[in-house]
């Protein structure tokens, strides 16, 4: 027999009694959840699905990681294995920078399949990353693949809805709500007890997945390259975000259940919201983001860069910019002819042109990323009402697989390209005496291999303030809605 049945509660129940009510309601809800075999089987299935998705993620990530590491080694060998040639010709041959996979991509692959994995670092131009994995996936692949994030974002809320839709309406239909209220239990305390039970169930649902992810991280993280502590902070943030997301669904389910005519109506309303949140909102928000913050086409983007680059001289010795630079250099060194310069003029010209190009690339690629950021902000803003829109960018950011992480990688790769350009130009400036100058493997070896260090969890948080605010807003809104519904609770 529950504590509730022992004695009626006083009208103004002390906090200790209210806590007893909450505990008793939570215990009763837990018991019912455990007694519902269908729900138990469903939860077991979802947990198995999550663990299976983690295993798939682990295997896939290990494969991709080893592939990219092998590619980086092979490209290094190709680079240092070049025959003797002019250093600028080697800069044209360039290097490839490969994006190392974020360990938490095993839980949330994010946009990884939709961004290139490698970028060619060649002379004179900053390239976009190439080779999107999604291109090779076929049409069916657009229906998604199993990942922990996919299950937690779309299927877990459904489980929470199924656990909670009849919380109040079911009790009303069976007459127990009337009994409960008649012994003096306050609706708010009943709500708190039921919410406690549901949130406990959410923790129980998430725990195996997050313990599995933590164990996978222990094996997966390359501790020379990444901080395990940072990865655990990221995992903790992911856990908090998913708990907030699902807890919001728990409050929503309780609120709708309290207000609905009957359980069926509650279920229909909650399923409609789930459908809108999981399927319609992400697509409609994307359509809106595209319309309000359009991105240029590749042709337009490249034409813009070419237009600005035309103002620099490149290899064109008749360009006014080239002539002006030549004259300024001769004046600076106090000589009348290029041949009399103590350094190689071609190297100086290359360096000058490269530096002019860097500003142009920074402007164009920065503007493109700003457009992506505006689109992401537009998509995340309705996250207060449709929480998947807030959760998804947050999850991707902390998993290190969002477009900002990609931009950080691309920026780092571009910095390495500039190091290569500067190194080869300096070599030409100081060692080339004529146009037949060639450098050998010692220069290729001197130029370091690209090594990317992904930023820490603070970076992810810094670019996720809007989604964080939207997700907190969602949780608060859902809790307030549940409280409002509890105040209007009808016993029959």
């Amino acid at each position: 027999m529950s504590d509730l049945a022992l004695a009626p509660l006083a009208a103004a129940a002390p906090s200790k009694s209210r806590w007893r009510v909450m505990r008793a309601v939570a215990a009763k809800e837990w018991l019912e959840l455990f007694r519902d075999r269908r729900l138990l089987w469903l939860c077991a299935f979802v947990v198995a699905l999550m663990l299976g998705a983690l295993a798939f993620g682990y295997v896939e990530n290990a494969r991709i990681l080893s592939e990219r590491e092998a590619a980086a080694r092979a490209d290094r060998e190709i680079w240092v294995g070049q025959s003797a040639k002019n250093p600028h010709a080697a800069a044209h041959f360039g290097q490839y920078a490969f994006k190392p996979l974020s360990p938490l991509a095993l839980a949330d692959p994010g946009v990884d399949a939709y961004v290139g994995s490698a970028v060619w670092l060649e002379a004179h131009r900053q390239n976009e990353t190439q080779f999107k994995q999604a291109r090779d996936g076929g049409v069916g692949a657009r229906l998604g693949s199993l990942s922990l994030a996919f299950i937690l974002q779309t299927i877990a809320p459904l489980i929470v809805i199924l656990m909670g839709f009849a919380s109040f309406s079911g009790e009303r239909e069976s007459g127990t709500l009337k009994q409960l209220l008649s012994v003096g239990a306050r609706p708010r305390d009943i709500l708190a007890g039921k919410a406690l039970a549901l949130i406990g169930a959410i923790f129980a649902l998430l725990a195996p997945a997050f313990i599995g992810a933590a164990l996978a991280l222990l094996f997966f993280v390359d501790r020379e390259r990444l901080s395990l502590f940072d990865q655990f902070i990221r995992l903790g943030a992911l856990g908090a975000a998913y708990v907030a997301y699902l807890a919001g669904f728990a409050f929503l389910a309780l609120g709708v259940s309290a207000l609905a005519r009957n359980s069926r109506a509650a279920l229909v309303a909650l399923l409609a919201f789930w459908l809108a949140n999981s399927f319609l909102a992400p697509r409609l928000a994307t359509d809106a983001a595209r319309a309000f913050a359009p991105v240029p086409t590749l042709l337009e983007f490249r034409a813009g860069v070419v237009q600005d680059k035309a103002k620099t001289f490149g290899h064109d010795e008749t360009h006014p910019g080239f002539i002006a630079f030549r004259d300024a250099t001769l004046k600076k060194y106090g000589v009348a002819r290029i041949e009399d310069l103590p350094v190689n003029f071609r190297g100086l010209a290359l360096r000058q042109d490269d530096h002019a190009g860097y500003a142009i690339f920074d402007r164009h690629f920065g503007a493109l990323q700003s457009t992506f950021d505006r689109q992401d902000a537009l998509r995340a803003a309705p996250g207060v009402l449709f929480p998947l829109l807030a959760l998804r960018p947050l999850s991707m950011a902390f998993a290190g697989v969002d477009s900002r992480s990609q931009f950080d990688f691309a920026t780092s790769a571009e910095a390495h390209r500039r190091d290569i350009q500067n190194e080869v130009s300096d070599n030409i400036i100081h060692f080339a005496h004529d146009n037949t100058y060639v450098a050998g493997p010692e220069l290729w070896r001197k130029i370091a291999a690209f090594a990317y260090r992904a930023p820490g969890a603070g970076f992810a948080l810094g670019y996720s303030l809007l989604p964080v605010a939207a997700l907190v807003g969602w949780l608060a809104l859902a809790a307030v809605f549940a409280l409002f519904a509890a105040r209007r609770l009808r016993p029959v």
């Binding site: 590619a71 069916g140 229906l143 693949s145 992400p282 240029p296």
Partner: protein
């Protein structure tokens, strides 16, 4: 058709006409379908604009080159030669021009019913700039898009049909028996009909006919409004209507089969929602993951590295050849070694080496991807949603079949293009105005593909029809055994 069936259908239709919720659901469904088709129209317009821009760019580049060529020729003819341009800007230089400045556009214009499904069209650019380089240098250029947009997917008709439409069909049909039993009217319904099961089937037909008809009408109206009535004459349009009809019938049959078990409305609702989640979400995701696990997609990076390794090998081998020449000819450099022709030959040798290696690797990769897709296609028979989605993409011309055909055509054209420029470059011949006029052109794949019925739909259609028939038979059996309590 028996009178019981018709009577049941007529009665149910009358009931539905008076139910505001039914009208609301049907209007929402039709509205979403029309919105998706409108979005598809915008997407098609963007693709057409991208192709037009790529072609305009090509025209501009070529006219500029031809103008420079005419100036150079005129200067030579007048005995006042113009300043020699660098080889990469020289319109006479076949080795450089075919590799970029004169590159031609190979385009895949949207198919007549392209507005129906995004398919692969947001990932694979509609226009490719074909050069004499190896495929890795031009075939994998991507259109710019926010990766988060690509991940979210587009609102297209395929999405509405696969995900939203079944929910409306299920909402109409999930509790025909259970609802009547719970209201206490089932006994009367069974008693008043000469053939109770036919009467129940008639009621079910009326319930599912409404969303199916609404969807078919919305599709037809949307195609007419956004693409023009002439699209009705394309074989793809008939196939589209058939796919939509069959998919709706599958969900109706599933609802009847579950309802026929004789359990309550709540059981039916939960079971059908579970089935919907499994068929539209979990199974397709699992199919993709299993196929990717069994036949991992090859790394395109491998292709690039092979091309680079081939270039450095060719470079080294060219150096070795020159060194041998120097040894055999008393240490002197060959006459051409320092000249432009040596640079051209070196460029051609590295390009050729990269081309050969990339061709071999692309063929290997394609074979591996084909294995992955074959497996996914076979497993796809587990999910009618997967089959329907792929069928709609094929009808829209944004599926794998059309892109494979496009890539095959590019492969053949690439060989012609290389032959045209490289034969001249190897012979040391300059490009002339006649050569510019005679450059190979990529024939418009869209013109050939317009009106062609989408191939390979029979398998997916049978894959949806067979389970539908089995479920319908199971559902009918349940209706025959229906009891008031």
């Amino acid at each position: 058709m028996s009178s019981s069936f018709l009577a049941g259908a007529r009665f149910e239709a009358r009931m539905m006409r008076r139910d505001g919720a039914v009208w609301f659901a049907l209007l929402i469904l039709a509205g979403v379908a029309l919105f998706a088709l409108a979005m598809g129209t915008a997407r098609i317009a963007a693709q057409q604009a991208a192709i037009a821009a790529a072609r305009a760019d090509e025209t501009q580049r070529l006219s500029k080159l031809q103008k420079t060529l005419a100036q150079l020729q005129q200067g030579d003819a007048q005995g006042k030669p113009a300043p020699e341009p660098p080889p990469f800007r020289d319109p006479r230089n076949a080795a450089f021009m075919g590799g970029g400045p004169a590159a031609t556009v190979a385009a895949l214009a949207p198919a007549p019913l392209g507005l129906v499904a995004t398919g692969q069209s947001d990932l694979l650019p509609p226009a490719v700039r074909v050069t004499t380089g190896s495929k890795d240098s031009f075939l994998f250029a991507d259109e710019i898009d926010n990766p988060a947009n690509l991940m979210s997917g587009a609102t297209d008709l395929a999405f509405v049909v696969v995900f939203v439409y079944p929910l409306v069909v299920l909402a109409m049909a999930f509790n025909l028996l259970a609802g009547e039993r719970e209201q206490g009217t089932l006994g009367m319904t069974l008693a008043s009909a000469r053939r109770p099961s036919a009467s129940l089937a008639g009621k079910l037909a009326a319930r599912v006919a409404a969303p199916i008809a609404a969807m078919l009408l919305a599709v037809a109206a949307g195609v007419w409004i956004f693409a023009g009535w002439e699209r009705f004459a394309t074989p793809g349009f008939a196939a589209l209507l058939f796919v939509v009809l069959l998919y709706g019938l599958f969900w109706a049959a599933l609802a009847a089969a579950v309802d026929g078990l004789g359990r309550g409305s709540a059981f039916n609702a939960l079971t059908l929602i579970g089935a919907w989640v499994a068929i539209t979400m979990i199974l397709p995701a699992a199919i993709n993951s299993i196929a990717a696990f069994a036949h991992p997609a090859p790394s395109r990076i491998e292709m690039v590295l092979a091309a680079r390794a081939a270039s450095t090998d060719a470079d080294k081998s060219r150096d070795a050849a020159l060194a041998r020449y120097a040894d055999e000819h008393g240490g002197g450099k060959p006459a051409s070694a320092a000249g432009a022709q040596e640079a051209t030959l070196r460029r051609l040798a590295t390009q050729e080496a990269a081309f050969q290696r990339v061709e071999a690797i692309v063929a290997e990769h394609d074979a591996q991807l084909a294995r992955q897709r074959d497996m996914a296609d076979r497993l796809g028979y587990l999910s009618p949603a997967y089959l329907t989605y792929a069928a709609m993409a094929d009808i829209a011309g944004s599926g794998e079949a059309r892109y494979r055909a496009f890539l095959d055509r590019i492969r053949a054209f690439h060989l012609d293009w290389r032959e045209f420029f490289l034969s001249r470059a190897k012979a040391g011949a300059s490009l002339t105005a006649q050569d510019y006029a005679a450059m190979p052109k990529f024939t418009q794949a869209d013109e050939e593909l317009v009106g062609r019925p989408p191939a390979g739909l029979a398998g997916p259609l049978i894959g949806v029809a067979l389970p539908m028939l089995l479920l319908a038979a199971f559902g009918l059996r349940g209706y025959r055994r229906a009891a008031p309590r």
